[in-house]
Symmetry: C5
């Protein structure tokens, strides 16, 4: 496993942290902000049209036609004027605009009388297989839904298809149902991501059983962290959905709430899956650690068996390699016979037999201790 993969989790989204001390309620336009692309979806049970707008200037007038439901989809934030139009024409609070443009917000739902404000976090794998974490902001009025996101890519295509196809509730159930549908697909996409990680964990586990090496640990740690990351999205998402369920906002229809309850159940199941994958990754790490210890034991056993058998034997060989003499080299006197074994008949044979017995005794000893298993 190459370094590239190991470091994948380094690719943090660079949060646009608040500049301490700046006025609250300030719209934040990042220097890398993208040019806004604005699409207007106008639909009713038997009508559907999309057009691209160059600005929000006439939108207030367009959406005053209560016979239709409108979805204003805004991507890219490089236009202060656009946000000022939102503030002027739709009376959107400055603090809300700050929350929209500072895209590190947690999922939340807030009521502001004439409109409701909500944030979802859209996670999806982008083209280069990295995980994007995009803030989608919702502004809901009686017949219009604004969605705002900083970047162009999204995972909302199926909703557009349903809107175009016109099947099911989507064209007739109003703007709050559209908001639900978008939130729901964002939540359901979490399942896709968790599914991918679950499969990664399965693969890692296979490697754990077959050939545990360092990469098992690194890869599991990356998934564990990703899970911690998604957890920080899912728990507030659950709270947000619950807030919508319990809200009295007239902009959310009772029928929509029934569906929101469904999304809420999905969210709880996602939390279940996240916790469960986290437990699995922790258990993988634990197993990895005890397999390292195990392997150390095995390595040490090899060393100990070989050393224990051969070091004493080598010592014996060393004994009989000593040069104790029986004649004083200077005086030429014969000394008492040092090391008589050397001069015994069959000394070598008996020595070899002795060594063999020692070796076999040790092998039996280690065998009994179960070291060969």
């Amino acid at each position: 496993m190459g370094k590239q993969t190991k470091r994948k989790h380094h690719k943090h989204k660079k949060y646009s942290l608040p500049v301490a001390g700046s006025s609250p309620g300030q719209i934040y336009i990042d220097e890398n902000a993208l040019k806004p692309v604005i699409k207007l979806y106008k639909y009713s049970a038997d009508h559907y049209e999309v057009k691209e707008l160059s600005s929000l200037n006439n939108v207030a007038q367009i959406v005053s036609d209560k016979n239709f439901t409108f979805w204003i989809e805004i991507k890219g934030y490089d236009s202060l004027a656009m946000f000022e139009t939102l503030s002027a024409d739709f009376n959107v609070n400055k603090l809300v605009l700050e929350d929209i443009t500072r895209t590190y917000q947690r999922p939340k739902f807030e009521e502001y009388g004439s409109y409701d404000f909500a944030i979802s976090r859209m996670l999806h794998f982008d083209e280069s297989k990295d995980l994007d974490n995009v803030q989608v902001s919702f502004l809901l009025t009686d017949n219009t839904l604004f969605t705002l996101q900083e970047s162009y890519e999204d995972c909302l295509e199926p909703i557009r298809a349903r809107l175009k196809g016109g099947k099911g509730n989507i064209r007739i159930a109003g703007s709050s149902y559209l908001m639900y549908a978008l939130m729901d697909i964002i939540v359901d996409t979490y399942f896709v991501i968790l599914g991918a990680w679950g499969e990664d964990l399965d693969t890692i586990e296979d490697r754990l059983f077959d050939k545990p090496d360092k990469s098992v640990m690194f890869d599991t740690q990356i998934i564990k962290r990703n899970l911690i990351g998604i957890r920080r999205v899912v728990w507030p998402e659950r709270d947000k959905l619950n807030d919508i369920l319990r809200s009295d906002s007239p902009l959310i229809t009772e029928q929509t709430k029934l569906y929101i309850k469904d999304a809420y159940d999905h969210c709880i199941q996602i939390i279940d899956v996240v916790e469960s994958l986290k437990e699995i990754s922790i258990s993988n790490l634990d197993m990895y650690l005890s397999m390292i210890s195990n392997r150390m034991n095995e390595i040490m056993k090899v060393l100990t068996i070989i050393s224990s058998i051969f070091i004493p034997l080598t010592f014996i060989a060393g004994i009989y390699g000593m040069n104790f003499a029986i004649q004083d080299p200077v005086t030429g006197k014969l000394l008492p016979k040092n090391m008589p074994e050397l001069y015994a008949a069959h000394g070598y044979l008996y020595t070899m037999i002795g060594m063999g017995i020692i070796a076999i005794a040790q092998i039996i000893y280690f065998w009994r201790k179960g070291w060969f298993k």
Copy 2:
């Protein structure tokens, strides 16, 4: 322990994850869905009959006879028409039908006016000793209970026997009592499973004391994960039973609630057992880990004792194996007597005695340190 066993926990139920972006409230028919088998149980205090139905078409009419209680048991989901009949004739909400057919739901209880909807998760060992996790859905009306499950196998036979036998409350206490009886047997089956795992843990623990090896860890981890899995079923099950207890639904009789309270108590005891087995498995893993460390210590002690004794002795033998000469081989001059020990009388004997003393000193040293224990 073979690979087969190790990987048992890989056999996840393949969840039918929601396809992100599909319309909510869509009935999901899996491509491997089984042909539905529908059984109708019609009973009262003194009446009992079972028949197999080919469809739900006439059921609405059949169950309109309020003198009897009906149990419609549906297994296998490969019939869109069947679900549409449920929707048309019994006014069952589309979201409920989606929950029934997407069989990865958590246990829950919901009231829909004319009927109550509940989900249990039935865990049981199937014929090949694998653990199945089957969703059983309940639709309860005043005199009728529908149960729906995707697969054919179940653990409900004892209820059918009691129904047929007609002893106890079961024939006279109405449809809500029947729902209780089924839920109760599902909960009680958890005990059976936990009992099996408890025995496994006991066996593992015996191995831990006798011959701890890697399989101890693998097997314990599998049980630990299974416990984590069952926990994710039991906690929402407890919440579900509590929801039923606190509900005002007119479809649940007071008498049934008394019994539900009993099932709720069982559920709490199961949670107790699960937590306790989990503690035991964690404690087994901890013991395993410290036994590995212990064993490493023992291995190292053997190596160290043998090396410490023989390496210095070998060194001494090496000394006296050196070939320092006393005569210059070129000039033939006698040199000062290098290594006079070699030419001393009894040099060998004294050396051996010296070596013996060193060895004994070391043995005493290690003995005192308690390394031989």
Copy 3:
């Protein structure tokens, strides 16, 4: 420490698990059930008598005398008739009878109008020093208390003595006070058990400091598990006492509640002690683990010091044991003087000095590193 002790915690109480699918409210008579022994205590401020009954047949009539308080003590469950009498004469719910005879219930308190039902779990060391965990069930009416337990042994003797002695409130404060007194002694017995375990932990800790070996871990794990076990008894016990405190049951006098509050405080202190002993046992295990690591370090230091000193020296000795010749054995030509050190005057002496310097340098090195401490 022998195997016997290690496995003590294997001696689980064999729970009489519910047979999945049996009718609820069924009295369960175990095949090893003991013959019932029934004692009747009849007392008032100035009266006290005990007699043994052969059955419960006349009890309903006996206890109708409201001038006295009665304690019916039942031990041993081998009589279906007995339970049926309870059901018939005292209107005891079938589910209650099931809870009494399935003796794996958690402590609880339930009101049934004409009587209250409560469960305590009595822990006590039996004659063979094993820990028994016995379910004691209470049925409380206005002037009568039934206690039921499966086995004969108990720890309630002091209450009988107080009843006989007649000192204090016990004879005049009614049946609910008697129930309190019994529950209180059961709770107080937990202190005795915890005291024994606390002393065990102290002993283990002494061994930990003196001679830590594997038994330290095993023994601590056993105590830790026992603590987990008692915890599962004490927490619901606390809830039970709290339920009694908050109950409106007319059968529990206000005065009794004052005393129950006292027992509740004891229970909280027991929880304190349990948690504290658990912390101590965990800390012992941690210390044990780090002492193993420490010991490994010490073992390795010995090995490394000895090896590092002697292996290089042995190498040098090996060098001078080589047989490089200065004369070609075939041609008899003199070769350039290979290994001139061997033929140098005092070569051996200088070699020995060199070796000594190497050894001393290494000893100083290791000393500086603090390896000799």
Copy 4:
């Protein structure tokens, strides 16, 4: 670090555990109980006197003078009569007297109409630097405060000084303020103890960086346990102060409650400090453990480097120490020249160069692996 220190935490307060089965509400006089020393403080804004009483007999009469506030300080419990006077003259509940004399109670606050009852736990280092954990019981009536403690030593001197000095509120704010002042000093003393432990932890940490040895672990474990011990005092203390804050007792003035709020804040800060010290001690233990592992690595590196370099070299030396002959000793026939290296010119030199190359190659290899760092 000597054994004495290591075992400091063995010095448990011997709890006077309840004798299971004794009557509730029984006054418990320990056999080692101290003779009671009773002091009466009588004071008002401009009056202050202290006298020692031999018994409580006249106290009821003395304190009936409502112009003064009284503090009856009782130390030592060896007088059953004293407690009976409390019961008779001040109507103190028997259960309260049991709680006073069984000195293992948790901090608590209870209202009994004519008086309030509270318990604090006074921790202070006694003369021999051991930590004492003393129960101080408070009985509060409208103009009188009884404090009762088993032993003589305390940490309340500053309050007596303030009482004598007469500065601040203490003489004019009544008996509940006096109770507050005493509770507050007891709580503030916890800071002193935590400060001492904090410094100990700092010292330990210095040792951890300089010379980590086993004592680091033992000492940290002792502090960790002490922290666990104080935690069991501080949390119920917080609850107690909160109970006083929320109580409607007419005996506690509103002004006193304002001060109690202050003590409550201190208590929360103490909890903060306790948790923080606990985290530090856990982090110290973690660091100690990983330093052991690190050290093991270093030890093993030394061993491996030395062994890897010299074992192969010794082998080579061993090769050339072999005695393969070129002449059959029996027949005297010349054999093919075994080991021609031995008879080569400069064989020794080349061998030494070869060995040097092997050694240097290995050193470079280990250097590259970073083992010398």
Copy 5:
């Protein structure tokens, strides 16, 4: 990494712990207290002036002009008179003054009728890059805000700039908005600190992958502790902001509460970041530990491979270095040919080939075991 860095976390703020037993409500002037520097900011929509005051004597009169909003900024506490003026002229409670001067308080908010009292903890890196933790106390009346801090340095300059610039709400929204603005900048500064730590963790993680050594652990532990420290500030900060949100104080305008809600959201995000960084640091420590174990494995593998190969070979060489003779040196008798291998033709060659085979067999064995990977 130098020692300096390692010990950075030793630089605890020396808390001015309460002296146990001192009167409550006592103003605490530290002996190192700084001379107070008092600045008066007087402003309205179209007016702005700052002047430095020598004392608080006339402030009560100055701030009686309700046409302006006033900010009295006090730094340095070495003036008892100043606090007494606060008490006399503004009726500030003695306990509040104690809380202001004992600068170890947790963030809190309290209402006292004519004024509100709040505490924030300002964390910022001072000139020497150390982290300062300064208590800032707020006293809020209808048109005046007092801020008090012990030291001179702060991070509030942007607010002064906004006040001077006069843009946004700050000059017109009254004293409670000013309090919000100051609290908000203090909270936002936490982001800056967390950002710095986050980058440190990234750097550490790079080192972990490249060259894990002890400093990785030390540095991570320091950050972990800092995180624990900031956590103890952020959680009560959150509670404080929530208390302000829920308070009925007339001094806090509804508009300000809207902004406080925003600061509250920031605070929750900070908690998120803190928890997330803590998880990362724990995961780093875990990885570090398992990398140590891994490295140990690698070290041991090198040792074992080298030893296992060469120790047996050395033994064989030792065998053929033995000096078994074939002639009795005393009698001169020929003995049976000991060690005939030595005299065999090509004995050396065969021996070398044998050794080679042994070595290659071992290398294959270790290769198969994956030890060379």
